[in-house]
């Protein structure tokens, strides 16, 4: 038994970490593992990561080797003595003169004067004299935008604060649900039981956190890129109210055992979900009218994605909730379509639209290629719409649907590559920008996960990988890579870009750093444990072992998931606090002009 576990570990590590072991059986029922496209692709993705690490390691190593290869000291001394003996007096004088010149030192007062320093054009935004061992490197500060209508700021702030509330609430529930895998008897309360809380977690983070922050950021983008006012503030508030009402009612329903039927992400019964749909119809109208009243000729690409996503999610919800074709397996066909499109056609599309605005804006340069964005838009629409059934591979759902889903899952490489290329090329040459900013790292991580997460998802649809990974915790890892690694990170990047600009108040950089690292490390612990555990689980099933063994073997991975989840949850509290500080704190910290401060330090320096 011991050896079989070791064996499986070995196999899993082969799958997950690149190593060279070509001796695997030929002609076994599925053929060589290495000929499985899904496996090959997953390994290639890992190779990309490994290659990056390797480049870094080689650069480091090269430096060390360089130092080691300097000539021997003795040899150096001999050459030196020989050279000195052959010098003429002129040359010696020159050298002495040079030596004196080189030992010249500034007194430190050359640039000083008795005048007070002035900053007439307001170029100095921040001065610090405390140079003693800062905990983290200081990042660049953000300057306030020109004029933004206060009414718009209030509306966006309300969206973002609602979103932050649902993030903290939804992930606290998710965290608690994760704990239940480790301690199933932690409570015996009906409305806190796993089955009821799980959809509360998914629905609140989907419709509450992601959707509301997307819409809030979108309100800014649509007005800016249309160079006009928002069509109607009142409609904006109405939409926000309806969506929040939907979430409160939906959460209460689910906890009381009123579940629409358990189809993932449509657990809210229709009267509750109708509030959300109406909210979105109102938002679409509001966005569309704003675009229609634009003061420039062309629609910016962001508006394509946002208007598209809003119209798609409305059509999607209506199709998902209409009952006429949902008896028997009809329900399953719709469920596959709905749960995938919900992610791809709403969250992913809308968020991409936001990135097409906020990434160029924070890098202060245009997007690399407008046309690639257009290509990605149409291919996303064509391919993504067709792949929902890949959640039901090998099920009794008609095989042609499954085949179409698998084929177009592979087709998804096109929009993903187009999008990634566009973002990476926009980033190119701005590495310094990223390291000196507190918002850009979020966008960079989001783009990295956009590529790896999407491609990994496509590979999971392949038949062999599906056999190993379907039904296991690997799926849970994938959904967290996408909804968290991609969507949440990109949204955070956008929020940290936008809010300091229109509020003129920045978050504390140390706290943004804590948010970033806790979220990232937590996510990594989460997905790595679920991927390894999920693979082991799938292999255990393939081996025909008793089911309970696959439960037992998951125990340590569920503990690691809980640890990762704890870090993630902590980071959300920090994020909520940062948002509170930027949006609500009454005494704006950086509002006060920095010039008097500069003068003070000048005097301090003088007297020292």
């Amino acid at each position: 038994m011991e050896s079989s576990i070791l064996n499986r570990w070995h196999w899993a590590s082969l799958l997950l970490v690149l190593s060279v072991q070509p001796v695997l059986a030929q002609g076994s029922p599925v053929g060589d593992v290495w000929s499985q496209p899904g496996i090959i692709g997953t390994i290639i993705l890992l190779v990309i990561v490994m290659a990056g690490v390797l480049v870094l390691a080689i650069a480091r190593l090269g430096g060390v080797l360089n130092k080691l290869s300097t000539p021997l000291e003795q040899q150096q001394n001999e050459t030196f003595e020989e050279t000195v003996a052959n010098l003429t007096t002129d040359q010696l004088d020159q050298i002495l003169e040079r030596r004196q010149a080189r030992s010249y030192q500034l007194t430190g007062r050359e640039l000083g004067s008795e005048q007070r320093p002035q900053d007439e054009k307001g170029l100095v935004s921040h001065v610090t004299t405390d140079m003693h061992a800062p905990l983290v490197a200081e990042k660049k500060h953000t300057l306030r935008y020109g004029k933004v209508e206060p009414a718009l700021i209030r509306l966006i702030a309300a969206y973002l604060l609602s979103a932050a509330f649902w993030l903290v609430f939804g992930t606290a529930i998710g965290w608690y649900v994760g704990i239940k895998f480790v301690r199933p008897d932690i409570d015996h309360v009906a409305w806190l039981s796993f089955g009821r809380l799980r959809p509360v977690h998914t629905n609140t983070v989907f419709w509450g956190w992601s959707s509301l922050s997307m819409l809030g950021l979108g309100l800014f983008v649509v007005t800016r890129t249309s160079n006009t006012r928002l069509f109607s503030y009142r409609l904006g508030w109405l939409s926000l109210g309806l969506i929040n009402a939907c979430l409160v009612l939906g959460t209460l329903c689910l906890m009381n055992g009123i579940n629409n039927g358990g189809g993932e992400y449509r657990e809210f019964i229709w009267p509750v979900m109708a509030l959300f749909a109406i909210g979105l119809v109102i938002s679409l109208y509001n966005f569309y009218q704003t675009v229609a009243h634009r003061q420039i000729e062309e629609m910016y690409i962001s508006n394509w994605y946002m208007l598209g996503a809003l119209s798609w999610v409305i059509i999607l919800s209506v199709i998902a909730y209409l009952p006429f074709y949902q008896n028997g397996l009809g329900e399953t066909v719709i469920q596959g379509y709905y749960m995938h499109q919900g992610v791809g056609m709403w969250f992913m599309s809308f968020t991409l639209g936001l990135v097409y605005y906020f990434l160029p804006m924070s890098l202060n340069k245009p997007i690399y290629s407008y046309s690639l964005g257009v290509l990605a838009f149409w291919t996303q629409l064509l391919f993504y719409t067709l792949i929902g059934t890949h959640h039901y591979v090998f099920s009794p759902v008609p095989w042609w649907l499954q085949a179409v889903a698998i084929v177009f899952s592979a087709g998804m490489f096109i929009p993903v590559l187009a999008g990634t290329t566009n973002f990476v090329m926009t980033f190119r040459g701005s590495g310094k920008h990223v390291t000196s900013s507190y918002s850009l790292p979020f966008l960079a991580v989001g783009v990295l996960f956009y590529f790896t997460g999407s491609v990994q998802g496509s590979m999971q649809a392949f038949r062999f990988t599906n056999v190993v990974w379907h039904f296991t915790d690997f799926n849970v890892a994938h959904s967290h890579i996408t909804m968290y690694g991609i969507i949440a990170f990109l949204l955070w990047g956008c929020i940290y870009t936008l809010v300091p600009r229109f509020m003129g108040r920045e978050p504390r950089q140390l706290l943004v750093g804590i948010h970033f690292w806790f979220a990232l490390l937590g996510l990594l612990a989460y997905i790595v444990s679920m991927m390894i555990g999920g693979t082991l689980k799938g292999l255990s099933w393939l081996d025909g072992e008793p089911f309970i063994k696959s439960v037992v073997l998951m125990a340590p991975f569920w503990v690691w998931r809980a640890i990762g989840g704890t870090l993630m949850l902590l980071s959300h509290f920090v994020f909520a606090f940062n948002l509170y500080e930027m949006l609500l704190k009454s005494a704006p910290a950086s509002e006060a002009s920095s010039v008097p401060h500069l003068n003070n330090t000048h005097h301090v320096a003088e007297s020292a």
Binding site: N7, A25, S28, P29, V30, P184, D185, A190, S193, F194, G195, R196, R198, P199, G257, N259, N260, G261, G262, I269, V291, M299, N303, W304, L307, G308, S311, W312, I315, I319, Y325, N327, G328, G330, E331, I334, Q341, M345, L381, L382, T385, L386, G388, T389, H391, V393, F394, S395, P396, V397, P398, L401, V467, F471, D473, L542, P546, F547, I548, V552
Partner: protein
């Protein structure tokens, strides 16, 4: 230029929404209509009733679908969960619960717990289900399923129609009265017991696809060419949920195998017969299902051998040949 999508927002939105609507109709709505309409329950499917329907209601309320699938895929590894791959007809009866709630999504997408397609056949004992729902760990030590104590009530006296639970002391949570299932628990269990795969009319079934874990280089297998069956693993899979890992059973629910005279009898015929035919002769214990259709002679022999040598039991091996003879004997008895 009205054709310019960058400038004509009306055309743009119409096109984006129109293409999506068209594709959605082709990929989702029309196939959904088609599988809904070209479908009917299998002729042998047993009729449903109000109690089972109400049980499904409880099943959905507690969102059991979050962890339990009900689909036997057409791949090898799913043979554990059913005798044949699922077909659309298996789900033909699945319909909207009421005006508020949609068709339950019973196929599921995650198998945190076992598949339930054949639960009624695999675990036909009501008592087991009640204990398991009250606290899963009272029957399956390693289980992580939630406990559902709110489906039970405590009474000071037990009527003749009440079904009292023999909950082991450590799981009673200080309850001193008699623990009996509520109506909702009875409905839920009725639903769970109704979960069975229906045989196809012609006895034929779609084949399972072979997807097996690739084995490292051939030649390292057993010399005999036939794998030796692991009786302990088979026991864990088919018997342990009731008779427990240590063979001690559960008082008042499932008889112990450890030290059992039937298990330790020099003549294993009675033991093998019970495994093949099932057993329901003793009122104080729950019903045991028959395994004749589910396990091969070699598998039953391996399990019986394990039971006769594990724990403190000491008895002779059981050969597949013996199981084959007893199976044949039973067949002639029943056809006569």
């Amino acid at each position: 230029m009205w054709l310019n999508l960058h400038k004509n927002h009306r055309l743009f939105l119409g096109l984006a929404a129109g293409v999506f609507l068209l594709l959605s109709t082709l990929i989702a709505v029309m196939p959904a209509f088609s599988v809904q309409n070209n479908n009917a329950p299998l002729p042998d499917a047993s009729p449903t009733n109000a109690e089972i329907q109400n049980g499904l209601d409880v099943f959905v309320s507690e969102n059991c679908m979050a962890c339990h699938t009900q689909q036997v895929r057409n791949i090898d590894m799913d043979k554990t969960w059913g005798g044949r791959p699922g077909i659309p007809a298996d789900y033909a009866r699945n319909a909207r619960l009421d005006n508020l709630r949609a068709t339950p999504s019973v196929l599921g997408t995650e198998r945190t717990g076992p598949d339930l397609t054949e639960l009624g056949e695999r675990q036909p004992s009501e008592d087991w289900h009640y204990l398991h729902l009250f606290n899963p760990r009272s029957v399956v030590k390693e289980s992580i399923m939630p406990a559902y104590p709110w489906l039970f009530t405590t009474q000071s006296t037990v009527g003749s129609y009440d079904k009292e639970l023999n909950v082991p002391a450590e799981f009673r949570q200080g309850i001193t009265g008699h623990i009996v299932p509520t109506e909702r628990a009875r409905q839920l269990v009725a639903y769970l017991l109704s979960l069975k795969q229906v045989d196809l009319p012609d006895g034929q079934s779609p084949a399972f696809l072979e997807y097996k874990k690739p084995k490292p280089a051939a030649g390292s297998g057993t010399a005999s060419g036939e794998a030796v069956l692991d009786g302990a693993a088979l026991y864990a899979q088919h018997c342990q949920a009731c008779h427990q890992a240590g063979g001690e059973g559960l008082k008042g629910a499932f008889p112990p195998l450890k030290g059992s005279p039937i298990v330790n009898d020099a003549n294993a015929e009675m033991l093998v017969r019970i495994v093949l035919q099932g057993y329901d002769a003793r009122a104080e214990y729950a019903v045991m299902p028959p395994f004749a259709q589910k396990l091969s002679d070699a598998e039953i022999a391996a399990i019986a051998t394990h039971e006769r040598s594990a724990w403190s039991n000491r008895a002779e091996k059981v050969t597949p040949e013996l199981v084959r003879q007893i199976r044949a004997a039973i067949e002639t008895e029943t056809t006569q």
